[in-house]
């Protein structure tokens, strides 16, 4: 059966552009990780952040697509495994869109290797009685695995266009565009009372044949190497080391030196000072831009010269890992550890992302199964997971002190995370969800995709972080001028100097740390460079900074995800733990007379 609306359009003889009063709405639907977002990108010409694990498309993405000269609205719905029965939040969102006026045509994207799972969803989608098109995506992967599909047979049985694509290469997208006109309500829609699983099983058997294929063996072998502890753990150590080289050495040392010493100290600062001398006759105004707490000399320098290179190199490295399909395999190793903390192996994804940016990671805790898990993950992220800039600072400062200093910090922070996770798992109400995770096929990441994704993330970072850096610098400047900084330093002196044994000026750094965690870390870096911190002081200061309150952006994200009451509780708990641990560590190290020399 063909949609009458579509039939009318077909009578018009090939105009250049057609516009309706209300554009036709085409919704993409499908299981997670089947390439919906890539198809979306191909049809709209824009790029949605695509990743190789479930849960990336959390919100609904909308775009415009030109289909045979007609402007249509295109919706990319969250990946779903079902639209009937007990539904997750994402599945409910998708069901609402697909069953309402939100969608005129449903394009279901299916991973060609997993026809059975795809058809189980088709069987449920058919019940909406809307025109549909089936897209069998990742045909290259399917062929690699020796899967061949009877497309003609499937088309005849379902009564809807069935298109084969390799969306990452753009193969079959032109066919899809022309097939959209022929979208039809599946015959299935009017056959009631079937068991979806049974139906999908039978039809997958009928329209698919699988021959064991040698090309798939390499992929299977590689997957085995990565997930078996004996080989996988050494590989993990290697991956971490390469990441350290890329982010900690190349990003945090080579690039930072180039930008900070070369570009900023060499050109921008002198130029800014000259310009300020010329334009600004008042000393206070000059200081506001180029003084100790100047917008250019401090704010911009920290944001662009110290933090940006670290964040960019992290996102490139993370993008590679993400697109290769490696990350979900880490979940197998970490499942037991996370279960101890009331989570399951899936939590490794937000935790690793947190090593890049805790704010972003807090957002992705949505992929976890239960409210309790989400809360614990948010708490642990704000307590112990250092973001990339912070991590680079830790490595930079403590690497120069001693290996023992570095290990002390990591053991204390990890120990606190275990302890807090363990207690939270027992104290908080609710349940943990079971560990059931799909391991996506391993793929060679495409450099273009990784760079595009990095660019989007860096742009997000610049838009979000730089204004906060500048606002933070301005606030510090005002505090400095009004005597506020001296007052805060005085008030917190018993804690900072007495308990933690740090120089009183560290108070300013902790305030900066609240504005941006990485900003505070950069401040500590400056203190260490000028020799204001001893070995023990560096360890204590960095431990407190790592455990300390999340930055403003992170806190706002926690409020958004968990509500203000929970956010304030986390803030209070984390502050107490950070100061308590720092004081304890300081006392212990001094008692044992450790100097890290």
């Amino acid at each position: 059966m063909s949609c009458p609306q579509v039939a009318v359009v077909r009578e018009v003889s090939n105009p250049l552009l057609r516009l309706r009063a209300r554009p036709r709405r085409i919704a993409l639907a499908g299981n997670p990780n089947v390439g919906k977002s890539v198809v979306f990108g191909r049809l709209t010409g824009s790029y949605a952040v695509v990743a190789n694990y479930p849960g990336t498309t959390v919100a609904v993405t909308e775009g415009r697509a030109l289909v045979e000269g007609e402007v249509c609205d295109l919706l990319d719905t969250p990946g779903v495994n079902a639209v009937e029965g007990a539904l997750s939040e994402d599945e409910q969102v998708t069901r609402r869109i697909l069953s309402s006026d939100g969608a005129d045509v449903i394009v279901q994207v299916i991973d060609a290797r997993n026809l059975r799972r795809g058809l189980m969803l088709t069987s449920q989608l058919a019940a909406f009685q809307k025109p549909m098109v089936l897209v069998l995506n990742m045909m290259d992967e399917a062929r690699l695995h020796g899967v061949s599909l009877d497309v003609q047979g499937l088309r005849a049985r379902l009564g809807v266009p069935v298109i084969e694509t390799v969306a990452t290469d753009g193969q079959g997208i032109a066919d899809l565009r022309s097939a959209l006109r022929e979208a039809a309500v599946p015959a299935l829609a009017f056959e009631g009372g079937r068991d979806h699983a049974r139906w999908a099983h039978d039809h997958a058997l009928a329209f698919r044949s699988i021959r064991p294929h040698s090309a798939a063996r390499l992929q299977a072998r590689l997957s085995q190497v990565l997930r078996t502890p004996a080989t996988g753990l050494p590989v993990l150590a290697g991956v971490l080391y390469v990441m350290y080289l890329a982010v900690g050495v190349f990003g945090a040392q080579t690039l930072v030196e180039l930008l900070e010493d070369g570009l900023f100290q060499g050109y921008i600062h002198p130029a800014a000072v000259r310009a300020a001398d010329l334009i600004l006759p008042w000393r206070i105004a000059r200081d506001f831009f180029v003084g100790d707490y100047g917008l250019v000399t401090m704010g911009l320098t920290y944001a662009i010269a110290i933090v940006l290179p670290v964040v960019s190199t992290f996102f490139i490295a993370f993008g590679f890992l993400e697109d290769s399909g490696y990350l979900p395999r880490l979940a197998i190793f970490s499942d037991r550890i996370f279960r101890f903390m009331g989570l399951n192996g899936k939590a490794v994804l937000p935790m690793v992302l947190g090593l890049g940016c805790d704010t972003m990671a807090t957002m992705t805790t949505r992929i976890l199964g239960t409210p309790k898990e989400r809360l614990i993950a948010v708490l642990l992220l704000s307590l112990g997971v250092p973001c990339s800039a912070q991590l680079a600072t830790i490595l930079g400062i403590l690497g120069g002190v001693s290996f023992g200093a570095l290990m002390t910090l990591f053991l204390v922070v990890l120990g606190q995370m275990f302890l807090v996770g363990f207690l939270a798992a027992r104290a908080l109400p609710g349940e943990r969800s079971e560990f059931i995770l799909e391991l996506p096929p391993l793929r060679l990441p495409q450099i273009g995709n990784v760079l595009r994704k990095t660019l989007l993330r860096v742009r997000w970072y610049l838009g979000e972080a730089v204004p906060l850096f500048l606002a933070g610098t301005a606030l510090l400047f005002i505090l400095d001028r009004t005597g506020g900084l001296a007052w805060v330093t005085h008030v917190t002196e018993p804690v900072i100097q007495g308990w933690l044994g740090l120089p009183a000026s560290a108070a300013g750094v902790f305030i900066m740390g609240f504005l941006r965690r990485d900003y505070g870390a950069a401040g500590l870096f400056a203190m260490a460079q000028t020799g204001q911190l001893s070995g023990v002081q560096a360890v204590v200061a960095l431990t407190v900074m790592t455990l300390f309150v999340p930055c403003v952006a992170h806190l706002l994200m926690i409020v958004k995800e968990q509500g203000a009451r929970v956010a304030l509780s986390i803030l209070a708990v984390v502050t107490l733990i950070a100061l308590g641990t720092g004081a304890g560590l300081n006392a212990t190290l001094r008692l044992l007379d450790v100097t890290f020399r």
């Binding site: 029965g85 059975r116 502890p229 979900p328 190793f333 499942d335 969800s433 079971e434 995770l437």
Partner: protein, 82 residues
């Protein structure tokens, strides 16, 4: 061998064994639904790939990792025991 003899829990199978899913026991809320959505339904072909630290198996063309408690609840009619 009768069908009964060949019925085993997924957790009891060694790496390399294969068979078909008979049923999934519902001793945790939502478990059956989540597994069904990933293709673990009666009749699905499974091959065990790894048993430690978690159970990894191939169901149809999908690689799945589950914790031991979940593997214990999946009953398999064994075709080929390693």
């Amino acid at each position: 061998m009768s069908r009964f003899d060949r019925t085993q829990r997924l957790s009891g199978l060694k790496g390399g064994s294969s068979g078909r899913v008979i049923t999934v026991l519902a001793d945790h809320p939502g478990r059956i639904e989540r597994l069904r959505a990933l293709g673990v339904t009666p009749g699905a072909a499974v091959t065990v790939l790894q048993t430690f630290p978690g159970v990894v198996f191939l169901c149809d063309q999908t690689e799945l990792a589950v914790e031991p408690a979940v593997a214990r609840s999946i009953l398999i009619e064994v075709a080929d025991e390693a």
